[in-house]
Amino acid sequence: MSLIRQVWLLLGVTLALAIAGGFGISVESSRRYLATQLTMKNNDMAQSLGLSLSQQRGDATAMELLLASQFDTGFYEQMRLVAPDGKVLIDRSAPLNKSNAPAWFVGWMGLSPDVGIALVSDGWKQVGRLEVRSQSSFTVDQLWRSTLLAAWLLAFLALMAGAVARYGLARIKAPLSATVQQAMALTERRFVTVAEPHVPELREVTRAMNLMVDRLRLMFDEQAGQVEVLRRQAHCDDLTGVFNRPHFLGRLKGLLSAEDGSASGVLVLVRICDLQGINRMLGRAEADALLRETAAAIEESGRRSVRHEIGRLNGSDFALVLPDVQSLRESAVDVAAKLRTLFRTREGDAFAVVGAVRWWHGASASSLLAAADQALARAEARGAFAVDLDDAGDGLVLGEDAWRVRLEQALAHRWAELAKFAMVDVHGDVIHFECPLRLRLESDGAPVPAAQWLPMARRTQLTWRIDLLAVDVALSAIAVDGLPRSVNLSPSSLADDGFLPALRQLLLQHRASAPGLWLEVAEAGAMRNIELVRALVDQAHAMGVRVGLEHAGEQVTQSGRLLEAGLDFVKLDASLVDGIAESTARRQHVASMLLMLHGIGLAVYAEGVNEEADAQALWDCGIDGVTGPVVKRA
């Protein structure tokens, strides 16, 4: 029973007892008082009349007259004169007054005053015994009236007391619920602070919990700082801060192979020609500054795509990958123009060249890089700030409307399939199956991974309906085989007003399967809309669904907001764990991240693990589960 309900019960019982007690005492004391008064009256009247009768020298007429006059003018029920042998000499009785009180009350009260008795004699001779009973029906009426009055008054008082208690309890309850909600949030891994309540006892509790949360945040921030340092050491170029070659290649590979990656994009290579000459001429420091500014200029140009990534491939070569960018030429020319502006402000005749290629989802990273390299070589041959392109043509054969029609069709017919990749723990047991959605865009077509249609789905704002379809299909599959499944949601779905209510409806329909469902949101989108993720978590947890981040690692540790999200798990991006067996820096980074995420109670899994050695290194770090090619081989 809840505390408030117990308090109410206690209050109710106390009030009831107090009122019943007060009521009982008041009724009983009036009852006793009236009975005593009547007894005394009966007795005194009997003695006084008995004395008078004893003075009549046995004159029966005189005695009867005396008795009658007393009876008729007073308030009596009965007067009797009984001879010693039991014979009734005189008997005067009044009809019993009808009482207003109900019969049960009369019976219950049992008001029976003592009969007044006196001895009557004629000189030494015994005449008999005089018995006097006064009217008592009025006493029952009076008792009934006072009982009713007391009942009404006490009921009114009880109502008043209840109202006061309600107000008081509400005042107590508000801060109490705030405290309880904070405690519940803590158990759900949402580390939030709340305002301190006015109630002293609760204030101490809340203060202690707030303090704990603050300490946790501080620790989290410190750890986050360390993780960030390790991340930079492992993944970034010391000088320019952009990705180093291995990490960039990992990211590129991930982008090209991810089911939910982009369909196409642009890869731009930049080369600073004759870096050694520049080094000699301007000195090491100047040359380093030039490299840093070049990286910054490329970064600026790359902002045309929200998910752009930059890497330094070797001393003089930079790479920029722009997913979802259509215009190859514009991208390349923009980079070249920015570099030209930068290099002009410098002394000497240093220059850069730009080569760019278009890429498609599923392409091989190495052949893409080779093509880009060739373009770069051709540009270099043409001279300063030359731009060379290798364009395989526009990939979007269909227009936007055509895509919309095909996606709508797939949605309407539920032309959807879920792929199935196992996520296993250290013992090889399946934690869940990752189930990326594949749509058939034609009735007899092959299932197509999300990378092919996701950009158009985003553009036509159909992602939320597609995500719902994925959830629906997954829940139905769980209902059939009972295997836990993980479905990824687009961040843009969360932003759609219709999504969460529809998801709730869906989960309610498949109440039994819901606990087997895992939902994941890409880190990049989730961190931008942490409030939407919170709303998703609230709804999902209510139905027993787990929620986590996928493709995580770059930002997850940088934001304290993660503390308030109440997530269940985090999946580390493949680029973070790729090759960690060989790199101490990368291993340290992953280990520190694991420590930190485990610290706030999150389960941590690794995506896209290729090598057995990497998997082993991850197990050594304490990872909770891995997925990727290594699992299939096992």
Binding site: N43, Q47, G50, L51, L119, W124
Partner: protein
């Protein structure tokens, strides 16, 4: 209130005192007899031990009085009302000296219980009547045969208020009067000096005619009669 007159002359009193002494001597003699279960001679619920224990609380005089009373009663043959009445009447007339309440108890009117009177060794007319009433009741005489009677008494040409105990052998009989003014018991018809005014007993209270429970109600103490009944009950007479 009943104002009583002192009974007997100084000579009578001296004789009374002598009798008291004799009774005390006899008491020693009969003590053993009494203790040996002389109470068997009465069918009554005389609770010797209870009364003795109660007397112990009042004082030595009360204890001695009770023992003497027990000794006297032990000599009474069973079912001999005349002897019983005479014994009780004589015992209290001799054992208790007449004294006004004001002098005795410091109050204008006080109804003493039998043990209180025995402890004091003194009392006024209603104390004699009460002591005799309680003692007779304790030996098994029913309430209805006894009445405490307020009388007008003509003493030496004066009319004074007085109280006596009347014993009715039957309901319509001429009662026997136990009085402290006249040492012997006479029928009422032979007591022209007494004019009865009003009589009462504890019949209604004690024998189920009334539903009252003595001692249970705070008003009991407000009535002299009920108050002394309570005390008599506590002392084991009732």
């Amino acid at each position: 209130m009943v104002r009583c007159v002192e009974g007997g002359s100084g000579l009578d009193r001296l004789a009374g005192l002598a009798l008291v002494r004799a009774a005390r001597a006899w008491a020693l003699v009969f003590l053993v007899l009494a203790a040996a279960g002389a109470c068997l001679s009465w069918a009554a619920p005389w609770d010797a031990n209870r009364i003795l224990t109660a007397a112990g609380r009042h004082g030595d005089a009360a204890v001695a009085g009770v023992r003497a009373l027990q000794a006297s009663l032990a000599k009474v043959p069973p079912r001999d009302d005349a002897t019983l009445l005479a014994t009780v009447n004589t015992f209290f007339n001799q054992r208790i000296a007449f004294r006004e309440d004001l002098e005795n108890w410091g109050q204008v009117d006080y109804w003493a219980s039998p043990l209180e009177s025995l402890q004091k060794g003194a009392g006024d007319c209603e104390d004699y009547a009460i002591a005799k009433y309680f003692t007779l009741i304790s030996t098994g005489v029913p309430h209805k045969r006894l009445r405490l009677v307020y009388v007008r008494a003509a003493v030496n040409g004066l009319v004074v208020p007085h109280m006596v105990l009347a014993f009715y052998p039957s309901a319509d009989a001429d009662p026997l009067v136990l009085d402290n003014l006249v040492p012997d018991i006479r029928p009422a018809s032979r007591r022209p000096d007494l004019t009865p005014v009003f009589s009462f007993n504890a019949e209604a209270i004690w024998e189920g005619v009334s539903t009252a429970n003595v001692g249970g109600s705070p008003v009991e103490r407000l009535s002299r009669w009920r108050d002394v009944l309570n005390r008599g009950k506590q002392e084991g007479f009732l």
